[in-house]
Symmetry: D3
Subunit: 188 residues, 6 copies
């Protein structure tokens, strides 16, 4: 029954502390085979004046933007075809890699390419995985695609997965997309 | 500069404690935007006789098998076409979902199906993501495939990603595979 | 000089935390032969949002009713012969065992029996012992009885002890009474 | 789910630390209405050279002798009529108070007085309560007496309770006895 | 990267807690060769009702007056020749030892003696060292003297050091003065 | 009654931990007016594999050489006129400042100058103050000088104080000397 205590400088919002507690709980459960209810995480906060490093009091650092929320916002804007809004979710230099290894840096280019493959497309989500990468949070989502081929035929239930790399600010610095459209589409 | 302390009953191996420290470090970094070197994790161990729950001393729980190691073992056995060995890595009832939504429970069936798509295949890995799912660890790996089509033509650099769900014992309870073979293969 | 720290979810009243500190102090002194002033107990409180078990924030549990207070209330009501009030202090099924092994579940029966032994009775208290039993708090009080025998003769200084078992809600689930009335009373 | 941590100087035996953990668990449960299994107590030990008070390293204090064990030893010696052994369990000046308020300091006197009441007596125990008094541990035991009256009539099932005050060394500094012999014995 | 935690009863001002954090940081750095920024000190405060020693809640103790501030106040009053004010900075029985081993208890005597050595004198400070002596804080300051000899010749850059012993209340209980005036002054 | 806990990576010798405990005790007493015996310092050690910063286990840092010991060694070698040994105690570029503001970097130069002032000199010590400076430990010692003037006249009881700045390795990076020789010596 592992007990985790984390010491923070006062100043993080309750939602951030909740995310931290959940992330620490998950971290323990990745390694110790305890029932979920057996993992205790307590967050201790001390006032900035009560936290000193190098003999100087410190302010709390910045929270990392919730990576799942950031991805969902981006996906929502894409689904609403608000390309300007979605582009603003991307970090400078962000690259998107799509099936067949096609690479885009501008969402407009990616959308133009998509138009050669389907007339309409919608994503339905089954789940999100979140982990910490070397450079920042990584979010993978998966689910199924439905839509209409360019020839007017509808399709649905086609599996996909997207992998996003994010910055601490919640910008998307990279996206990789895999799906079964190539398996499913009518041969040319 | 968050400081995390985790209290364990003595008895976990050094490698388990190292994995725990790294998982807790990653957990903090998913939420607090601190430089990596600014996250301190200390593991405190007390002898079983010094840990009491409900007035009774306790023994340390079981460690969760290293999920990346478990996936790598499985992938190595598959690559060596040791189907019996690989099948032993699967939890009872494990299902594998392959491009086009093909579902298998027996590796032999999956291999037979693959033989209709390529004569030979090899995976090269770019990275692994690990997270905690509702039922156990989740590992996603990604990289590229190379091999030979059934018509003898070679291929390479074809993107793939595999998502594994694991049990605490390190058995694979589910695998989902996405790749660009459908984009790349010669039309029938 | 043992130092005890107890972590609580914020929400317990100051009186409860004081009782907890004293109980922990006594617990240490039952085992470690330290001068009373050498036992330090610090109660650390974290906000409910800073305490997570199983990845979910929790609310503080209920405090156990002060068992000595509960017993004193009951004894006060008995002394005032407020049988209805005193009966409300008893848990359902509570049994009282009196000298000679007489057992009662209704206070009225017990009082009726007492009337065959004395015309009037008062308790004067010397002390209370409190411990934790298997099912809940246990309070023992002791002191002397004074009063008037049924023949009008007064008596005083007759030793007694009462042992109460209580529920967490502070209801009395059992009472056992011993005293020297049988040694002292005029033979029939 | 209170978490208690107690810091000790290394040197107490496992049995003492177990008693301490149980006493702290009971202390929490006297005040916080948590299920027994929800109370965690961890004992942290530091080497004497790692514990400093007033700038000087310290040695662990003495453990308090297990008070229940001390009482059981005394009662066993009394039951075996090893008066010398039992007397050695008493602190200097210890007083025993028996039914009717009879006071003894020498066990031989007490036994002589008992011989006027019964020819033989045995105790059967139902339970022990332990608490911390102002001057040291307090143990109350209760149960029933069986034996033979001076006239040869047997008796059994007669309730008793004994209250012992002890020193840190485990010597008995006071005993008070209540029982129903006065209720039960044949009138003179 | 040592992490220090200090538990205080709530009630010390922010400035006192800052001094404490700095003193603890310095203490670590006197012994562990860590970069200054690698020493973390967290001050945990519990409400008086959450701190119990010997089963009784306690109030925070008094803070020690800032010894450097106390010395600077004294030196400022001396520099302003406010002898009454400066005398009030001295603990009863305080002794001042000046070059040549001259000892004074009254500032007026000391000033009278000084007048035989120089017509005017000013101190310029290079630094203060603070340490804890057996009886209280010790402050040493050093720097240079400038002024005018009794014969009207000016002087400057003459090294001095003063060592002050202080009480917890910030009164000066002793001063020792060394300087190079004896090296520098014109021979008689 | 402040309680200080310091977390260290296992590996520092007992003497280093003792020095750390004393330094932390002194640090508390510089700020909190507690009786010396009321300051508790506990050093918690975790194995290197249980201490992680930035997701990597760490080794304990180097201890700072005991600064008083380093100064005493230097002073002993000087007293024995082992100039080579004493010079080895000095950090590169170390400067010594003597009464009258005379500055030396080579001990031989300093000794040659001293020979113009006295034929023989000995130090007797009254105490050492230790504090942490900006660049490293600072040690001040004080006491009295005795010896023989160049004209053969003996002297004694002449006050002195030396201030040493040290490196973490225990080398002396600067010395400043004040004494009353200038007050005491026979005029030229």
């Amino acid at each position: 029954m592992p007990v985790v205590r984390v010491l923070l400088i006062e100043g993080y919002g309750a939602q951030v502390r909740r995310r931290l507690g959940q992330a620490l709980t998950d971290a323990v459960r990745l390694v110790i085979d305890a029932p979920k209810d057996a993992v205790i995480v307590a967050t201790e906060e001390v006032a900035p004046e009560n936290y000193m490093r190098g003999g100087e009091t410190r302010q709390p650092g910045r929270a990392v933007a919730d990576p799942v929320e950031a991805v969902q916002t981006f996906l929502g804007l894409m689904s609403a075809r608000d390309l300007a809004g979605a582009q603003a979710c991307l970090a400078p230099g962000a690259e998107m890699v799509f099936p067949g290894g096609r690479r885009f840096t501008a969402l407009a280019d990616m959308v133009a390419w998509g138009a050669t493959r389907y007339a309409q497309i919608d994503k339905s989500f089954e789940g999100f995985d979140v982990s910490m990468g070397a450079a920042g949070p990584v979010v993978s989502c998966r689910g199924t695609l439905s839509g209409v081929w360019t020839d007017g035929t509808p399709f649905s239930g086609i599996r996909f997965t997207d992998r996003f790399e994010l910055t601490a600010e919640g910008l998307i610095s990279g996206q990789e997309v895999w799906n079964d459209l190539g398996e499913a589409r009518a041969p040319a």
